[in-house]
Symmetry: C2
Subunit: 131 residues, 2 copies
Amino acid sequence: MTEEVALAFDDTDLLPAITQDADSGDVLMLAYVSPEAVKQTLETGLAHYYSRSRDELWQKGGTSGHVQHVEDVRVDCDGDAFLYRVEQEGGACHTGYESCFYRELDALNEDDTAEAEVVGEKVFDPDEIYE
Amino acid sequence: MTEEVALAFDDTDLLPAITQDADSGDVLMLAYVSPEAVKQTLETGLAHYYSRSRDELWQKGGTSGHVQHVEDVRVDCDGDAFLYRVEQEGGACHTGYESCFYRELDALNEDDTAEAEVVGEKVFDPDEIYE
């Protein structure tokens, strides 16, 4: 069944996109997308995002080679979040971990810091990838 | 290994939290959290969020009974996104689907709408839950 979905880009230029490893189900990262980033992703089959800090469209893996081959793109009930289901080359996180969510939260402190346990797996050495 | 993580709540009051079914790996929803919502989640073991539209802390399932038992809470590399890994009672989406990401995007139109295919599974009738 095909539906027409209203996307909530009109409220804001960017919306969050979750990236998930299509095989393992691991959640790899969360980033932001513009309409153009979603279009490029659908057209090329490679994950594109929009960098809020650099204020530009970027293709994941453009620098590191750790590209994401996109199996499909899902949209949520409210049209204000996306889910990229991908095959990840290398690791998703710039720290060298497979997933950006490599730490488990123990407790929040009063000063907006938190204690966390490292539970993820390192899959590459960032010093060898980002020069 | 335990680390201290700086959370990015200082830039904004709310941060995105992804919710994932801990057993199946399915991504269920994306919502926003305040520091208090994360604290309540860690303390009670039940997923709490912050509603941007109602401007209040809420416990998932408070109305519907579809609570989320939280196995662990992960935090990402930049301290600006969370991942709740949960056991979901009922369905996560208010539409009756198990996951809010029940539609696969085919193409974006010029007017911020999109064509999407329904691929998710309905697990409850919202008319019987939300009166």
